[in-house]
């Protein structure tokens, strides 16, 4: 008797509120431990649901005002549980951890969703559609992805045209801190992917980011240097780079003033929504003669 009363009550609730079930299933408060994931959530209109982000989430500026849950690899279970309102879901890339903390968070009833941060389109598509489902707007996510793919495709066509007019320049991408001891990006990094997509020829062949001696840098003689500085920007960053690495002055890039700035936050955590715009910037620096 009691059971059937419950069933009737439940059914009535369902009938009266057709979206009751759906609204219950969707997480309302989000904690994000991944820079580009945060950007995508914001791009899908989910910013109001975010209650805490990690230290790699630096874009857009408004998320910096949210509570920081620390670095993505050193999360604290109690810290995340103490956010108000308490989050229902924690999202992050496979770098998120440590694993015992994730287990504790799961045990406390939070959904923990891990996304692949590989820099390719199928991965991005899966990520966006999954985020869309969790935000309750898969259609919007699909459209965002189609736009993204469209932008990259039309960019590729432009690069092909440009390459027909002038040869692809030799490029090195350096990641530095106030100009000192910059690390050179190898082809297997997101930075390497960016160079290739923008139509450049990466002169560095080693895996990962490595220090190069100034002699080697001069010998590589890049035509374009892309420089991402973690603490300086604008002319100050380029001045610092040349001051700390005088050997660079002999390169074609320095002689023809073809040193391009790149935002270093673009290089972390998979493909983000700001990449197509920065690709355009890079390509224009690589192929100054071609008109976009």
């Amino acid at each position: 008797m009691r059971l059937s009363a419950k069933v009737i009550g439940f059914t009535a609730t369902l009938l009266l509120h057709p979206w009751a079930m759906a609204a219950e299933a969707l997480p309302q408060h989000w904690a994000s431990a991944g820079g580009s994931l945060t950007e995508w959530v914001v791009a899908m209109g989910g910013e109001s649901k975010l209650v805490g982000v990690d230290t790699t989430s630096q874009h857009p500026d408004s998320v910096k005002a949210l509570k920081s849950i620390g670095y993505q690899r050193a999360l604290s279970s109690e810290g995340i549980l103490s956010l108000t309102p308490r989050p229902d879901i924690l999202i992050g890339t496979e770098e998120m951890g440590p694993p015992p903390v994730l287990e504790q968070i799961r045990a406390a009833g939070l959904k923990v969703e891990m996304f692949d941060s590989k820099a390719d389109l199928p991965t991005l598509q899966a990520t966006l559609l999954h985020l869309g489902r969790l935000l309750g707007d898969e259609a919007h996510a699909g459209k965002l992805f189609d736009d993204y793919r469209q932008q990259l495709a039309s960019h590729q066509e432009w690069v092909k045209l440009a390459e027909a007019k002038q040869p692809a320049p030799g490029v090195i991408l350096m990641l530095g801190h106030m100009g000192a001891k910059p690390l050179v990006a190898g082809p297997d990094t997101v930075a390497g992917w960016l160079i290739a997509q923008a139509g450049g020829r990466n002169l560095a062949t080693q895996p990962g980011y490595k220090n190069f001696s100034t002699e080697v840098l001069a010998a590589l003689d890049p035509q374009v240097i892309v420089f991402a500085d973690r603490s300086l920007s604008g002319d100050a960053a380029i001045a610092a780079l040349l001051k700390d690495n005088p050997a660079l002055a002999t390169t074609q890039a320095a002689k023809h003033k073809r040193i391009v700035q790149l935002d270093p936050t673009l290089l972390v955590g998979g493909l983000g929504p700001r990449l197509p715009a920065s690709l355009n910037g890079l390509s224009q620096a690589f192929f100054p003669d071609a008109k976009p």
């Binding site: 620390g70 279970s77 109690e78 549980l81 015992p100 903390v101 406390a108 990962g208």
Partner: protein
């Protein structure tokens, strides 16, 4: 040097301090739980039937997050401090540190091999990963210490001076190897390594706790039994021998206990500096040099210090978390400097 405080009073004071640290460690955290809920959750965990609302949340936080963390801090702090006493006794120098026999650098090397090697193999199955790191760190610590001990031995005699120098050299060698792994590591692996080297009680769980609990219990039961022999060693090796102490055996036991205890603590919580150096030093100021008092008192003080440091680590930047090695070094290093400056005539 005469004790400032009678041993009985000292034990009562340190015991109360340790209890207070345990209680605070269970009661305080980024999630603010009402005091009553914490008490009820503790009682419920002890098997007392308790009724009430919101108990599930409190029990989850206290039972699954704070209690394993408290136990980890308690045992790691105790065993690190005991190892500090053992090393200061062995080298007959109050500035000795468990790191001197190479156990910390060996553990760091083991961890580097596990972290970087693991990423070369394309990542380990998640089930195995935490254990592999702990096992490698433990074996690395044990291995380097065994080597230091071997190098110090000649004709059945162990030269403490040679051990000390061998420890310095092997620490340098292990650091160079860690440096090489750091250079070869990719960005993401590098960060894991960095954070491991700073230590943390974060994410403590019962499954990973029991090896340390076992070893810590063994070491804390064994070392105090050798307190008299350690006292004799304070007079000098030949004097201790004349008093009928088997000095070679004592040295072997001290090195073994240190390697085992610190290795297990480091494997469970990462590198936590300064506890082994500062705690015995601090306790000696109050208790005097008698190891029968110094050993148990250091155990209690080390456990309390690490728990208080962990409170800072989890509260200071909440909801983010500070690595505990930073906190102990920030507390320990200035104190150490103070001792150095004050001790000068």
């Amino acid at each position: 040097m005469r004790p400032v405080l009678a041993p009985g009073k000292l034990f009562i004071a340190l015991g109360l301090l340790c209890l207070l640290a345990c209680w605070l460690s269970l009661a305080l955290g980024p999630v603010s739980l009402p005091l009553l809920d914490t008490v009820r959750a503790c009682l419920h965990l002890l098997g007392v039937p308790v009724q009430g609302q919101g108990l599930e949340q409190a029990e989850m936080i206290v039972g699954q997050i704070r209690l394993p963390r408290t136990l980890l801090g308690l045992t790691a702090g105790a065993v690190l401090a005991l190892a500090g006493v053992a090393m200061q006794g062995l080298f007959r120098n109050p500035l000795a540190d468990p790191g001197l026999v190479g156990v910390s650098s060996g553990a760091a090397l083991g961890a580097a091999i596990a972290i970087v090697g693991g990423s070369w193999l394309g990542g380990l199955p998640p089930m195995l990963e935490p254990y592999l790191l702990s096992i490698c760190a433990f074996l690395g610590g044990l291995g380097v210490t065994a080597l230091v001990y071997r190098l110090g031995r000649k004709d059945g005699q162990t030269s403490v001076a040679v051990m000390l120098l061998a420890g310095v050299a092997l620490t340098a060698l292990a650091s160079a190897a860690v440096g090489l792994f750091t250079y070869l590591a990719d960005d993401a692996t590098l960060r894991t390594l960095t954070f491991w080297n700073l230590g943390s009680l974060n994410g403590a769980s019962y499954q990973r706790l029991w090896p340390l609990l076992l070893i810590a219990t063994g070491v804390s039961l064994w070392l105090p039994r050798r307190a008299k022999a350690l006292n004799a060693l304070l007079l000098g090796e030949s004097e201790a021998r004349h008093l009928g102490i088997d000095v070679e055996r004592l040295k072997r036991e001290l090195v073994f206990c240190t390697a085992l205890g610190v290795g297990a603590a480091v494997a469970a919580a990462g590198l936590i500096g300064f506890v082994g150096l500062v705690v015995p030093h601090l306790v000696r100021q109050v208790s005097g040099p008698d190891h029968r008092v110094l050993l148990p008192a250091s155990l209690l003080a080390g456990a309390s210090l690490l728990l208080f440091a962990d409170l800072i680590a989890r509260m200071a930047l909440a909801p983010a978390e500070l690595p505990i090695g930073i906190v102990t070094a920030f507390l320990g290093a200035p104190f150490f400097l103070y001792l150095l400056v004050r001790g000068r005539p």
